[in-house]
Amino acid sequence: MLSPNWTMLKELAAHRLGQIGLAIVAIYGILAVLGPVVFTVDPSAVAGGERYLGPSLQYPFGTDGYGRDIFALTILGARVSLYVAVVVVGISTTLGIIFGLISAYFSDLVDEAIMRAVDVLLAFPGILLALVIIAILGPGLNRAVLALAIAYTPIMTRIVRGNALAIREEEYVLAAKSYGESHWRILFREMLPNLTSVVIVQMTITFAFSILSEASLSYLGLSAQPPQVTWGVLISEGQSVIGIAPWVSVFPGLTIMFTVLGLTLLGVALRDVLDPQGEVNMTQDI
């Protein structure tokens, strides 16, 4: 395990899959951040007379039943997905690092308690844990985000703990202990920096799959509600008119696929560069 440095950044730039991944993620990032400023669309506005137009130069993704530009809506959805992913990754990574480090460092009772809690949470396959939480909170974008953040926390916890266990007995940690450094300093100043690589790789994967999961939840009507626009909502609306206007569903779906593809490719490349012995766990589509 190594900490990221400049050499690795150069290696990443030279990594073929990394290049594709970076390019897709860069386009996604720019469109999500700047797109809604350039391609303005009011999702609640109804433009009469231009309903269900097929893809054209003016409307690259066509228009929907309200005459709205699907391309502009997709970009609006990109911003929502960015928000979802950043919050889910932020919360699950922070909690996962705290629980994982504490679990590995203090072992015995604390470890047992945290790991059994992780077992229970991971006993809910796929999206079901998020469904339990939404059953309590009710549907809504922020509630779905919270549900996903909770659902991804045990995965990060387990990964951090596993890797922290391996470095717990390293000499620099033992040395820090013999100096009498505080637990807090040992955990976050000595151990955490050496876990950066695995955490970054896992963050990338969580980023990708939280986008996929939120899309599923909003397709099911459990996340954002119309007129708020998300990729899942767009696909769901498009399904009812799939026979006359397939583009309403097709393009937002392709956008999800390429975004997730870019992120997972980036994850694979990051793993190659940062943590050559590691395996990327790809079964986290929850």
């Binding site: 809910f124 059953a135 097709v250």
Partner: protein, 315 residues
Amino acid sequence: MGWITYSVRRLLISVFVLFVASILIFSIVRLIPGDPARVFLGPTADQEAVDTLRVQLDLHLPIYEQYLNWIAGVLTGNWGNSLINDIPVFDLVLIRFPRSIQLAIFSLIIGVIISLPLGLLAALQPNSGRDYAALFFSQFGMSVPSFWLGIILMLVFGRYLGVLPASGYVSPMEDPVAAVSHMIMPAFALGTINAAVLTRFLRSEILEQRGKEYVLTARAFGHYKGTILRKYVLKNALIPYMTNLGIQFGWVLGGVVIIEVVFSYPGLGRLVLDGLLNRDYPVIQMGLLVLISTYVLVNLVVDLTYSVLNPKIRY
């Protein structure tokens, strides 16, 4: 740790996990902000109806008694009635659960049919064109939203080509051919991600086995490459593959909720989702509990089987 100690410990963990999961699921109704009976009936309902529902849901009892009553009901098949149509939840689940299992198994079969040859082809010639093609498929398969893939399949094979029924369910008892044709698309949409994960997994397992020393030794003894591959490498790679298949089964159980909605497939997943949208708490609770219990049980069986097949593994 001996096999029996390991098995007992593993079994106890499963029981513990199910116990805590049942508390969590029981709590769904109790954690809802405000009075669940009022939330369900709406602000305009009269107090009498709310009170009746409170009694029906045991909400007037102390919390531990509520749980004991509830878990006793769960274990004896007394699962309460749907708040929407008053049908016993047990009956609803009994009809729909086998349909979801059927779909889940079918999805896994599709996952195996795709991943077995693809993973094998990729691993036989690593870094070749077909290896990249397999990895390319695998990466796409993991990135495509299953519900969207389902819609696209429906559009192409149901509407444009008209070769498969777009949605619905037919019992295999009534008409086996129609039953299978109704299941192909949902199972494919659900199984693609499994195929993708399993392809990658099988490839890396075979590659790992091929690098082991026993392969070199067998070669030194003059065995043919093909024989070594068939007799040793594949055998050793297929054990973890089967284990992973068990894990995939769990993920499929989570995925049925979404796919059943896409294809209007009347299984347990759709029952849970309709429950969620209608605040039909007894249905939500038992639906989730049945899905999770199945997952825990499958995982238990997989782990125990694996520990028999691979005596080196002891946790």
